[in-house]
């Protein structure tokens, strides 16, 4: 019926391991910076524009703490950027690499993006540390085992999305959303619930598919699943954002260039979902290799 999985490792190509590490850590660094800036701006708004104390712990008295945390994020981010800018020069220095492990760990609490890319960065440092030539690390070809693992891993990581949607659904249901009618009318809130269920089912099915492929992979089905999820990973967040815009199309009253921009909000969903981009790219790579290396 299917091939028995095997562990044959076939070198595929070499890649600059240092560049790979930089690419991986730059993602959480950007997110930390973005989060810090947004938090700082929010504290500024509370103090100077909204002047509200209605949303504890985001209160006037906590403004210094909020701004302190925001600055903390920005400082961490700047450490990451500085480190990355020096990595090309000092990747052979063990002490420097040790600092990198710490910085990788610091990224982990910024879930899920920081955690995912932080760990990738740490494993990248491991590779750099032990490789004969860190700028020419051997990247292995994918084998059948790996298709299942990656599909499964991707599903696991993305399971946070329906959970976040559940939070959003419950919160919007319990804030005074009628004040914002029709932008947060029940149709909009219920759409979140639908997405929540749909995404939960989709990622669960993906996880199951990953397990099945681990043992009983068939090339055609694997390719179909990889194609579907390389697209879905990319668009999962964008679909939710764009649906919100379309549901409110009448009230947003776009005109001129905004008519075009209004249909491109899904792009934001791609930008803020680097894990989706990562797996999408990976799946495409897998697909490319399936024809040549994959048994």
């Amino acid at each position: 019926m299917t091939d028995i999985p095997h562990q044959t490792i076939i070198p595929q190509h070499t890649e600059n391991g240092v560049s790979l590490a930089i690419r991986h850590l730059v993602v959480p660094a950007c997110f930390e910076l973005l989060f810090g800036v947004v938090l700082y701006f929010f504290a500024y708004l509370i103090l100077n524009k909204l002047q509200i104390d209605a949303l504890p712990p985001f209160t006037i008295s906590n403004v210094p703490i909020i701004q302190g945390i925001a600055i903390g994020f920005m400082v961490v981010s700047s450490f990451h950027f500085i480190y990355l800018s020096l990595l090309n020069r000092f990747y052979k220095n063990k002490s420097f690499l040790f600092i990198g492990y710490i910085l990788g760990c610091i990224a982990v609490p910024f879930i899920p993006t920081g955690a995912f890319f932080g760990i990738l960065f740490i494993t990248d440092l491991n590779t750099i540390r032990v490789a004969k030539d860190p700028k020419a690390v051997e990247i292995l070809a994918y084998n059948k085992n790996e298709v299942g693992i990656e599909i499964k891993t991707n599903a696991l990581v993305m399971l946070h999305l329906p959970v976040v949607l559940y939070y959003l659904y419950l919160y919007l249901l319990t804030i005074q959303s009628d004040i914002l009618y029709p932008n947060f009318r029940m149709g909009v809130i219920l759409s979140l619930k639908i997405f929540m269920y749909a995404y939960f089912v989709i990622y669960t099915l993906q996880f199951v598919a990953g397990i099945i492929f681990r043992f009983y992979g068939e090339k055609l089905w694997e390719q179909i699943v990889l194609i579907v999820f390389s697209i879905f990973n990319l668009l999962a967040v964008g679909i939710v954002i764009q649906t919100y815009v379309w549901l409110n199309w009448a009230t947003l009253e776009f005109s001129g260039i905004m008519l075009v921009v209004g249909n491109l909000f899904w792009v934001i969903g791609i930008v803020i979902n680097p894990i989706g981009i990562f797996f999408s790219r990976h799946f495409i790579k897998l697909l490319r290799q399936m024809g040549s290396n994959l048994n």
Partner: protein, 661 residues
Amino acid sequence: MEQLRQKSKKNSIFLAGIVATIATLGILIPGIVLWVNHPMISTSYYHYNLQYRAGQEQTYPEIVENSLQHIIYMYGNHSTWNYTIECQFMLIEYVHDNYPTLFDEIQAQNSRGQLELIVVQFSSAFHVPYPVKNFRESVNYTSIRMEEYGLRQSILILLQEGQWLPAFGQAVPNHVAAILSIEQCGYFNYYPKQPVLEWNFGGVKKHAFMIPWFPRFEAGVYHHQIYTQDGEKINTGGYGSFDVAVDFDFNPLKQANLEKRHIELEENGNLFMTLEDFYNYCVENEYVESMEKYIPETEWVAAQYQTFWTWMGQGSGWTDDGHLLARIYNAMTITQATELLLNKSYTHAVINDTNFAEWGQYRIGGQDGKLLQAKKLVWEAQVTDTTGISPRYFEFWYGMNKTSDALHICSEIIENIRFKPTFNTVFGNNLQINPYTLSIENQTSSFLNVTDLGVLSICEIEGLFDLAILSTQSDEYALYPAALEVSRMNLKANDWSQEYFQLNFKFRGKYNVEYNNTGDNYISEEELNSMNTMGVISKNDISIHFFGNWSTVSYSPALLENESINLVRDHYYSFPYESKAEWWILLSACNGMVYNPQGGFGIVKNNTVRHLAANWRSTHIEFAETEIKYNSTHQYFIVPGTVQEVLRFANQINSYRWITL
């Protein structure tokens, strides 16, 4: 070894994925567990205001038919959805008189505990600037009438525009707690943790009940507010609740959306409570802490409206706040004096039982006595919309007409009494009614007597009190400098006298007309536009500053005119964390007094001439008014002495002002 390294590299994505999943779900899932483990409880209050457009009675049926009844019947169809309506008694009376079926439904829901009615006062009145009597009477009248209608009043107080009155306990024996929002506390740099606060003030122990605008975990539950806004906005008009269509036209989509949200909440296990249900739950389960900070009078969105500046100084719209509040204050003191005369006349048998019933302050056999009619007119004039957010021209005149009608009734009562054959025998020809001493004097030698001791300069006063007094107005009004007269005065009573310094300011407005406290000659908008002050286009922004050391201050909170409280400015925000905006602390000074303990003197504004809030900073007290439309007079007294002496003076001048016939 190399083989191992390569394997490690290969599995890094899996490892990263596992760590990210554990970390992410490790944070998110406990949140859901927390959510699931806490009962979801909602409260809601629909604020209805029959005087939404004060002066346009044609809107009354629209408010009831297009909004209120849809809410009532929606909840009627779901008997487990408990909810709260907060409104003035005028609305209940209007529904009772005009919509019997709807009233029966209200009564049925109320009696089975589904509908909580927070109906505290007769009209949607503003009480921040006034002494206690007026409020207490409005509350008492409402309680009696609610009982008469077979309706159960909530034990909670929630007032128009969410007014927080720290001395509310003085006036409401039957109510146990006043509602206070988290934001109102935060504005004054106070962040309590529990939803119920024990508030000991003025010798009375009550509760403040905190409501959050946003959902939060408190009292062991996940508590959220379904609605805390104008009920009219939930199901009429177009988008959102920030604006209402002109005619309150019913919007079935908004109504259906509200019902759908309730259904969805119910499916999620939400428990619908009235505010009183939730308050009782909190008290029974001891989610109570002591209220540690004095929160001065404020409106519901303290930051947006700079506590109550919008109602007591900011002049957008057609009303000059200081003027109309003074006019209402004046009408209040006249009704008070009339009441004293009426009562004394009755006890001295000048008037008989029938006269007392017809002219008095009681409702007998469904008929309001004349004095009660006058008081109701004053309560109606007090509606927040006459001075609040951009009053329209008809709202300004609503306040003007109601006050003059009240004064006409008082004059009529007084004339009726004076016309009685035994009046002169008992009271004599000349008399002075003094509500402060509850006496009527007929010997001129016993009258309160104000003596002018002569003119002096502003510099002399500044030197005496170590003050710098500065008045400003818009540059455009340079042609019309503010007029200032300064006099040394003496007020002599039977058993005390007080020397003081009187400052009279006069400012020009955009229109060259000045309204007094009694006049009722209607001027149309067209006529008014022909009365422009020459050479000016804009309205006048004026202010009077009293610079000095005001790091602490004593004043009498609204409803507690006979006592004073000492406050420290640094206990409140000014420019927190170098914010651009300033946090204002306004003192309404219901008896006019703002006392300076450092200097041993008080500033007493004459509330019946101009009634503005005092903006308190540690370096000065400012009485300001923006967008003045009409010419205006302001009168301030600088009174040396102890706080008790100044308090006595302020109450005699303002809260219990005497009238001489």
